[in-house]
Amino acid sequence: MTTAIESDSFKRPARRQWRARLAHFGMTGWLALVVIAFWAAAAIFGPAMLSQRGDFGGGEVFAPMSGAHWFGTDYLGRDMLARVIEGARYTVGVAFVSTLLASGTGTLLALLAAASGRWIDSTLSRALDTLTAIPSKMFALLIVAGFGSSVPTLVMTAAIIYVPGSYRMARALAVNINALDYVTVARARGEGTGYVMLQEILPNIAGPMLADFGLRFVYVVLLLASMSFLGLGVQPPEADWGSLVRENIETLANGGAAVIAPSIAIASLTIAVNLVIDNLPGRAARERGAR
């Protein structure tokens, strides 16, 4: 059993955990990872590798797929492949940063609420409940109406909208951990709130919070796409996938590639992230006897 494992493999428990986590990935999980990696690479390196810039128009409008234009052309005759890859930067990047902000803030506040007294907990919880009470789309429209649409505004808006959910989730987990004996032992030792938050509780809620991060990433992608579809997201000539769908909506009736390509991009990214979450070791892995 465990005793048979050589002791030096225990030196790096973090890496061992990651390897163990990936080992449980099924076929769908790996496929989804590949899709995510592809879009991440597209967002980072894509524009540099393209032979055609997306803002170079003037060709045939709504051209079908061809060797020259893999995804056809859009309503101004621009290459759709280039447009989608450039859009990845906005969709993936903005969503990633907002989710990171939302999850990070939510988790930190939740740890603070769980590890400190009843007053801080109540104040934080009620304040964030108030935020939850505002309809998210309405709030986003309000912010954009007030401050105009720019990438930083979009990031902040999406982050603020998703902090309460992330906070709720993390707090529920942290409160359970906080009641366990090892946290009590740490308190009885005289440890401060910071140590209890970051050393005792955080590592034990990290797993579920990663799953929550993935889920929230999907929500943010969809929120940004729908904002752009309404024309309130990323402004032309730049475009994220939501705006690409909106720009080329005219060709929907003809089944044009220009509207289908960005839709498929949104679908593939969100489905892939969900599949990866499903493959993270949770219930399924525990039933197989994993840790």
Partner: protein
């Protein structure tokens, strides 16, 4: 009348591991066989296989089980459903987890009879009430209308027995039915179980890790370890003359000998003095009331009482986790501030607390090294080589191999975790260790080894203990004095010299009597002494 049970070369496996290895035994009609062994020995797995059931991930991979004329393992799912709850019924360890909290008890007790169509609903209810009476439950006519949370744990356990017996099964499987109960409650439940099993002449399988309990219930005992049979024999013979080495160690561990103790006690100065202490949680009233206690340097005081008696709360108050509402504490001649944040780091260092369940007392994401290093860094600022050396010393002290330092708690056994738990407390170099039920979650043999360690540490390091337990045997083995608590009050204090000299407080006497003794007929004697309780 019970059926004959014949098990032949039963093998249960999970993946590549074999949980039960070619186990064969026979139970004659109307007899009780006890399966005994430590956790992980395969006793529950064997018991479940008698019903043709294997837990998720496990598989019955060979052998046969015959109950009467039925070959259980060859039955199809539908036939198995007809067998379970009708021919074979099962009483689980935790009745609280086995009842549906949203339905009345009677509803659930008559369910097997209605399901198998043995009795119409009305007749089943009458029978249930008769069973309640037979099991010595209070208010048998109306107790069925209550919901599971409205009855006590011991009553719920008996109600589950009623559910199991309502179809007049031929075989009853009792899986650790009294393990989760207090000693005083356990006696009542054991009595009720034994009576119904005897009167109905059912064949029974009693799964337990407690030899003393089994001695009262079983005709034969089968000792299991690692899924293999170590020894089987009639109860008297096995208890009097165990042949297998493992059985002998089980017997030795079940009769805890008094651990040798140092010179501590009388002459030494008072380390902890508690005066008129009361405490409670918010509006829920007081849990502790007017506790007075004196603990001398190097002394070990046992605190004993049933669950809800406030013994754990006492430890929490002393540790500073719960400030008392009234009363004072003095530590080493100085007043001890009530709340954690008012205490100096030195105060905190000198009192350490060790919790019952090592599973929740060690952070699963930290290595053993990190768990032990933290108090050393925190209180003494050790780092580098001295830190490393001190961790090795601590591991040696609690008799763990040094190679364990790099592991996570998940890879350790229960006994090893409890040793790490102790080592962490020792890392602070404390004067007083508060032990809260430290051996309760462990098997007898492992628990005995931990008790040895506690006694040895006391001898060598001169630490004092406040040792909290519900088990009088354990407390008597390691403590110089025993404090008896009930309903948050201290009832009596008994010194070691007077353990066997009476008369003591009646509640202490009751507790002492309730601890099962490891010989047959102990329960019968108790019945004769107090027949009123059975009727």
């Amino acid at each position: 009348m019970g059926a004959l049970v014949v098990v032949d070369k039963l093998t249960v496996s999970a993946g590549s591991a074999t949980l039960v290895d070619a186990l064969s035994f026979t139970i004659r009609p109307g007899e009780v066989l006890a399966l005994i062994g430590e956790s992980g020995s395969g006793k529950t797995t064997t018991a479940l296989a008698l019903m043709g059931h294997a837990r998720r991930g496990c598989r019955i991979s060979g052998g046969s089980v015959r109950i009467g004329d039925v070959d259980v393992l060859s039955l199809r799912a539908r036939q198995l459903r007809a067998l379970r709850g009708r021919t074979v019924s099962y009483i689980a360890q935790s009745a609280a987890a086995s009842f549906d909290p949203s339905r009345s008890i009677l509803d659930q007790v008559v369910e097997p009879a209605c399901l198998h169509g043995t009795l119409p609903r009305g007749a089943a209810e009458l029978k249930a009430i008769a069973l309640f009476r037979e099991l010595a439950l209070p208010e048998p006519e109306t107790i069925g209308q209550r919901y599971p949370h409205q009855v006590s744990g011991g009553q719920l356990q008996r109600l589950m027995a009623a559910m199991a017996l309502i179809t007049d099964p031929e075989v009853v499987i009792l899986d650790e039915p009294t393990t989760a109960l207090d000693v005083t409650t356990q006696v009542e439940v054991l009595r009720a179980f034994r009576r119904v099993v005897r009167e109905r002449q059912v064949t029974a399988v009693y799964v337990s890790h407690d030899l003393a309990v089994v001695a009262q219930m079983a005709d034969h005992i089968l000792v299991l370890r690692d899924g293999r049979m170590r020894e089987v024999g009639a109860t008297e013979r096995l208890l009097a003359a165990p042949q297998n080495e493992y059985t002998q160690s089980l017997l030795a561990a079940a009769r805890p000998a008094t651990r040798a103790h140092g010179e501590a006690g009388e002459g030494a100065e008072v380390l902890l003095r508690v005066k008129g202490l009361s405490a409670g949680y918010g509006a829920r009233g007081t849990i502790l009331e007017g506790i007075d206690l004196e603990l001398r340097r190097g002394q070990a005081i046992g605190v004993i009482g049933e669950s809800g008696s406030g013994k754990t709360t006492l430890a929490r108050v002393v540790a500073g986790l719960l400030p008392p509402s009234v009363g004072t504490m003095e530590f080493d001649g100085r007043a001890l501030p009530p709340a954690l944040r008012q205490r100096s780091r030195e105060d905190l260092r000198r009192i350490q607390i060790v919790f019952q369940s090592a599973d929740t007392a060690l952070n699963p994401s930290q290595t053993i090294e990190r768990i032990l290093a933290r108090p050393l860094q925190f209180y003494r600022g050790l780092k580098g080589e001295p830190l490393r050396r001190r961790i090795d010393e601590l591991l040696d002290l609690v008799k763990l191999p040094r190679t364990l330092a790099d592991r996570l708690p998940g890879g350790l056994s229960g006994g090893q975790k409890q040793r790490v738990n102790l080592a962490r407390a020792l890392a602070a170099d404390p004067d007083l260790i508060l032990c809260d039920e430290v051996t309760s979650a462990l098997d007898t043999v492992v628990g005995a080894a931990v008790l040895d360690l506690i006694a040895e540490l006391r001898r060598e390091l001169g630490v004092s203990y406040l040792f909290i337990s519900h088990d009088l045997h354990t407390v008597r083995a390691v403590c110089d004095e025993i404090v008896v608590m009930r309903h948050g009050r201290k009832l009596a204090q008994v010194a070691r010299a007077d353990y066997d000299r009476g008369p003591h407080h009646p509640y202490y006497e009751e507790l002492a009597r309730a601890v099962p003794e490891m010989r047959r007929g102990w329960l019968d004697e108790l019945d004769r002494a107090r027949p009123a309780l059975v009727a």
